[in-house]
């Protein structure tokens, strides 16, 4: 049909009609290199986490305690956070004690790397196409830059600074370039006149009532928000995908049972479910993430199920089936990737909800008071509104813009990824 090929013997094996199918059917395939690296990285991570759990023991301790049962006077779930043993990494100047939340966070980042960054890098053409679609929304691009900054600062900087502590030499200092009357009390580092105090570069965003630096509090708050948002959302996605896809794929009574359960879970207003569980478990940050992650997936699983049902009706699904693909192959290669558009969008829109819930809980004083979250700081500033506006305002602005940014991105992603919005 096409121009004659001079080197027929070389091209021979590359013509479809020359494939010896009897020979092909005898052989079995090998695993690609990249998959091996991926599996290896997860295995390494698992080993490290196991090592930490055993050496520092909080996890094992907790498990033992729980299994042996019975309320004990010293019983505390908080034990998970505070490692009892030596720090995990100790290289002289760099000491990092990896907590349970940290382990989860690293795992989340690894999953994001392997299942978002790597596929995007491997399909540059598709990535460019999505980027072109996404770029049309300028607000989303700005939001993306903002979130990347928040993410990097929040993840890296806390490794090098310590949690801000009370400093009674610097109470209620205003942010730099602003002044405040000292009549209301508080100390002052730079006195302008007798009763007017000016903020300093030492505490660029001012300090709280007990003299903690707000900039540092905000940076630690970034970490908390990112951890809550990303870890809990990833847990939600994983559970929702598993439940939604099984319901769609198995159908029948499995579907009925799972979706009825989801109905019930969603009837319980999520905020109050979290509230009740938080009350009953008196959670650490780790447990709060667990509660959010284990009970927040109902809505997404419904989306996954309906999307998956739609995908199985698509012709490309039938095409793969008629080519002889096994059900598992089809689900893995066609259903999950195509549902992932909706999942990513739903997840991006779910993250702000979780961040907001954590902030609200911290504001209400229902979370670990030792963790400097934005909500805690807002709550602390509430009592000094008249004298120190900045304590409640500044972390609130960060919270607001972070939620806004996620919403903008979610909306842009929906436009870029959702075929329904043609």
């Amino acid at each position: 049909m096409m121009a004659a090929d001079t080197d027929n013997t070389r091209r021979g094996s590359s013509r479809f009609e020359d494939i010896d199918w009897n020979e092909v059917e005898q052989r079995s395939g090998s695993r690609p290199l990249l998959t091996t690296i991926k599996l290896g990285s997860f295995a390494l991570f698992g080993l490290l986490a196991l090592y930490d759990a055993i050496r520092n023991g909080p996890f094992a301790e907790w498990l033992l305690e729980y299994i042996s049962g019975g309320p004990q006077a010293e019983y505390t779930v908080l034990g998970i956070e505070v490692a009892t043993g030596a720090p995990t990494f100790d290289f002289g100047s760099f000491v990092w004690d990896v907590t349970g939340v940290d382990w989860l966070f690293v795992a989340t980042l690894m999953v994001m790397f392997w299942y978002a960054v790597v596929p995007l890098a491997r399909n540059p053409r598709m990535t460019r196409y999505y980027w072109r679609q996404f770029r049309k929304n300028r607000a989303a691009v700005i939001s993306m830059v903002y979130l990347v900054v928040i993410f990097l600062v929040g993840t890296i900087v806390p490794l090098f600074i310590s949690v801000p502590t009370s400093n009674f030499q610097a109470q209620l200092l205003p942010p730099v370039f602003t002044t405040v009357s000292t009549a209301a009390g508080g100390d002052c580092l730079v006195q302008v006149t007798d009763s007017v105090c000016r903020g300093t570069m030492a505490h660029p965003l001012g300090t709280t009532r007990d003299g903690r630096d707000i900039l540092k509090l905000v940076i630690f708050g970034m970490r908390v928000s990112m951890q809550i948002g990303l870890i809990a959302t990833l847990m939600n996605i994983v559970i929702a995908t598993a439940i939604g896809a099984s319901a769609a794929y198995m159908g029948g009574w499995v579907d009925e049972l799972l979706m009825r359960y989801v109905d019930i879970q969603l009837t319980f207003p999520q905020f109050f479910l979290f509230l009740l569980l938080s009350y009953l478990f008196e959670p650490s940050l780790f447990l709060l993430i667990m509660i959010f992650g284990l009970f927040g997936w109902g809505g997404i699983s419904r989306i996954v199920r309906s999307e998956a049902l739609q995908r199985t009706e698509e012709e490309y699904f039938k095409a793969a089936q008629s080519a002889g693909a096994s059900p598992l192959y089809v689900v893995r290669r066609h259903v999950v990737p195509n549902v992932s558009n909706s999942i990513i969008t739903a997840a991006t829109l779910a993250i702000p909800g979780l961040i907001l819930a954590e902030a609200a809980f911290a504001f209400l004083g229902l979370s670990d008071p030792t963790i400097p979250s934005w909500g805690t700081t807002i709550s602390a500033g509430r009592n000094y509104l008249g004298t120190a506006w900045w304590v409640a305002t500044i972390p609130g602005l960060f919270l607001f813009f972070t939620i806004l940014a996620f919403n903008f991105i979610g909306d842009a992603l929906r436009d870029a990824l959702d075929p329904r919005q043609e």
Binding site: P71, A73, Y75, D263, I264, L266, T267, F268, P269, Q270, F271, F272, L275, L276, L277, Y279, L280, F281, E282, P352, L356, A359, A360, F363, L364, G365, L366, I378, G381, R382, L385, G386, W389, A392, T393, G396, L399, F400, I403, L404, N407, F408, D411
Partner: protein
């Protein structure tokens, strides 16, 4: 149709029952904070912690078999015996009934305002897609859904209460009790209503816009235009009416939860002694019965809301067959 409604009501009962059961299980597996407190007190006052524990379990019937406790728990709730609030020294239900009016005082206007205004803006925006008004409305909606309501409340208090002094900072129960329908009461409820409505308006608007857009582009709307329908008739009959079908589920499903959660925070911020505040105080004071009671109120509202939504759906959409589900 009647069978469908009966089935839905039965299902709502099942849901309520399952939620009660799950809550019971959670109570069972978590440590009882009051026990720890009692033991601590006993030890401090020189008593025997074990004896205190026994006495406590005796009093609360915790030494009975699991199954008996479970049946008693469920029957108590069904019969309206929701337990005793230690901190308020009255039955839980009485405490809730006493605080409910304060919650309704600001949430009822908020629901009405947010539904009417939100849907109105959403529809207008959909009809005028790609215009400046549409962009502005969309931006406002983003603002509304993104702003943390408790912080928003604080900021409003800071600006309009603290700085400008337009609205009172402290909620006065006496005004609410004696002059419920007075300007003074409206003045102290104004900011809470604004805070609660902002998020709900934005949510309503986004949903209404998205759904209406589907119908603005629908073929049957084109048919209606070709018939000569325009203006209000077009909007109300041909776009709003079909939009109500999907919207009815979204309004209840998503916004009810949002509204309930927001109200708790709003009450805490503005110091309104409603159910949310009651819940918050109960949590802080570790009054478990009262916590459960105040959490079950939104759950109950949600169960009923879902039931009404399903029935509304079948009334609104002639295509649904009652044979399903």
């Amino acid at each position: 149709m009647r069978w469908y409604v009966i089935r839905r009501v039965a299902w709502a009962a099942v849901v309520a029952f399952v939620i009660l059961t799950i809550t019971f299980l959670f109570l069972e597996i978590t440590p009882d904070q009051q026990v720890a407190q009692l033991q601590f007190q006993a030890a401090q006052s020189g008593g025997d912690p074990e004896a205190a524990l026994d006495a406590y379990e005796q009093r609360r019937g915790l030494n009975q078999p699991l199954w008996d406790r479970y049946t008693e728990y469920v029957t108590n709730y069904v019969q309206g015996n929701w337990g005793w609030s230690d901190t308020r020294s009255e039955p839980v239900l009485d405490a809730i009934v006493a605080s409910l009016p304060y919650s309704i005082m600001y949430s009822a206007p908020s629901i009405v305002i947010s539904t009417v205004v939100g849907m109105g803006i959403g529809l207008y925006s959909a009809l005028n897609q790609y215009t400046k008004t549409d962009y502005a409305a969309t931006f406002v909606a983003f603002f509304g859904i993104s702003i943390p309501n408790f912080w928003f409340g604080i900021m409003l208090l800071l600006i309009f209460g603290e700085t400008l002094g337009w609205f009172p900072i402290i909620f006065q129960t006496s005004i609410a009790d004696t002059q419920t329908f007075s300007l003074a009461n409206l003045r102290q409820l104004f900011l809470p209503i604004v805070v609660l409505s902002t998020g709900a308006i934005a949510g309503n608007m986004r949903y209404a816009r998205a759904e209406a857009l589907e119908y603005v582009r629908a073929e049957f709307v084109k048919t209606a235009r070709a018939k000569g329908a325009t203006g209000w008739r077009m909007l109300s009959r041909h776009i709003l009416r079909p939009t109500l079908v999907p919207l009815s589920t979204l309004l209840v499903g998503d916004l009810l939860g949002l509204l309930l959660a927001s109200s708790l925070l709003v009450e805490v911020v503005f110091g309104i002694p409603g159910v949310g505040r009651l819940s918050y105080d109960a949590i802080i004071n570790q009054d478990t019965d009262l916590v459960l009671g105040t959490v079950f109120i939104p759950v109950f509202i949600s169960v009923v809301g879902n039931l009404l939504q399903d029935i509304a759906y079948t009334v609104l959409d002639p295509r649904i067959s009652y044979g399903d589900r």
